[in-house]
């Protein structure tokens, strides 16, 4: 019995390690925002969109198509970016060209978990893009999580940029 329990605990630890810190699945986030999980829509990254995305990310985008979900009024974008060494996954809800709210769905770095705090994420609410595709407001950094904060800013800009391109 003890051995079984020990094996179960070990198994759960290993599974948690493999998954990283997953706080919410993308499907659950989409369902929470839109009430259901509609069929995903696709933004194809043409050369022009790729160039715009690369300018925001400082590296070429990983994929040539970006999935998103929309009910007409709001759209949900699930994006991934490396903070320091590991991918973080964040969900962005955009309405009328501005960020409605942001949620960290998975954070896999060993440090800098503060970027998932609502007090940090609420800074993005209401943010839009200026003419240079930068956020039209400043985001306060977090000591010890500078790279993750920068990655969140890049993802927020990218979500707004993709949303704008999806409407064109």
């Amino acid at each position: 019995m003890r051995r079984s329990l020990f094996a179960l605990v070990l198994g759960l630890c290993a599974a948690a390690q493999a998954l990283g810190e997953v706080y919410q699945t993308p499907a659950a986030f989409v369902a929470e925002v839109l009430g259901t999980v509609p069929a995903p829509r696709v933004l194809w990254l043409t050369r022009e969109v790729q160039a715009g995305a690369a300018a925001i990310l400082d590296h070429p985008p990983a994929n040539l198509r970006q999935r998103y979900w929309s009910d007409g009024a709001k759209s949900v974008w699930i994006l991934e970016e490396i903070g320091k060494e590991e991918l973080m996954t964040a969900g962005f809800v955009i309405s009328q060209g501005r960020i409605d709210h942001v949620r960290m769905l998975a954070y896999r770095e060993s440090r800098g978990q503060e970027v998932r705090d609502p007090s940090f994420l609420k800074q993005f609410a209401g943010a839009g893009l200026d003419k240079a595709d930068r956020l039209d407001r400043g985001i306060d950094g977090i000591s010890g999580a500078t790279l993750s904060v920068h990655a969140m800013e890049r993802m927020a800009r990218l979500a707004l940029y993709f949303e704008r391109r999806s409407r064109e």
Binding site: T25, P26, A27, A39, P40, V42, H59, A62, N63, L64, R65, R67, I82, K84, E85, L147
Partner: protein, 245 residues
């Protein structure tokens, strides 16, 4: 000759000898240290060095590819967490492939828990995992009536755009199956699919001396002692004449 003069000469001579002997290691420590300091900006962690001798040096067991997945015009060979799609490497830490399927202009490589979608020229179109799949683990992938079909524990699902799924499968499905590689091909592919070691890890090991194995850190401790001696002897040679004045 006065003792002070003899001491100064001896010190100067040994300062030069130690400096010259340790020159390569000082340069190595300095260069790797600067690179590691800017590791994130240089993307050191995402760059990998592939060489059989390096993998052997690190004690990484190399897997030789034994089989390949083929479509009418494409070929996938995998080993050591790497894929060669039509002869081009596609990335690092890739899952073990279940199959290769061609759907229209798209090429799909299936793993147990992911689908990688490529254009015919090898550009990655999309990567689907978790919530984007109809179920995991995937057991097989195939093609039928211009649709991708995946076999899951809940049964087969089909998709024409590798985006949205419907339960079920066309009547005839050509499941992707591996074909064996010739012995000569195995060796050639093994060389091209040598395991990758991140540049960050190599530089870190060079910087700390661990690249040389167990004795490496001890040797670099010695180099650090030399550096301390150089700093102290240099400071003494600089300050002693000024203090005497």
């Amino acid at each position: 000759m006065p003792f002070r003069l003899r001491l100064a000469r001896t010190l100067r001579r040994w300062h030069a000898r130690i400096g010259f002997a340790a020159l390569i290691f000082f340069v190595l420590i300095a260069v790797t240290g600067v690179a590691l300091n800017h590791g994130a900006a240089l993307g050191l962690d995402s760059r990998h060095v592939h060489a059989e001798w390096l993998a052997h040096w690190y004690g990484i067991r190399q897997e030789q590819p034994k089989q390949a997945y083929r479509t009418a015009s494409h070929l996938l060979v995998a080993a050591n967490g790497r894929w060669l799609l039509d002869g081009s490497p596609t990335g690092e830490k890739m899952p073990h492939p279940l199959g290769l399927v061609e759907i229209g202009d798209l090429l799909v490589v299936g793993g147990e828990s992911s689908l990688h979608v490529y254009r015919a020229d090898g550009a990655l179109v999309d990567r689907l995992d978790g919530y984007a799949l109809p179920g995991v683990p995937l057991k097989a992938i195939g093609a039928g009536e211009d649709e991708l079909v995946v076999q899951t524990p809940a049964g087969p699902f089909s998709s024409a755009d590798v985006l949205s799924w419907r339960p079920g499968a066309p009547k005839i499905v050509a499941w992707s199956m591996p074909t064996p590689l010739a012995a000569s091909d195995r060796e050639a592919y093994a060389r091209r699919l040598a395991p990758g070691i991140s540049l960050q890890r190599i530089l870190l090991d060079l910087h700390s001396g661990r690249f040389l194995g167990r004795v490496g850190p001890l040797f670099f401790d010695l180099v650090a002692i030399f550096l301390t001696i150089l700093a102290l002897s240099g400071a003494w040679m600089f300050l002693a004449p000024r203090l005497r004045r």
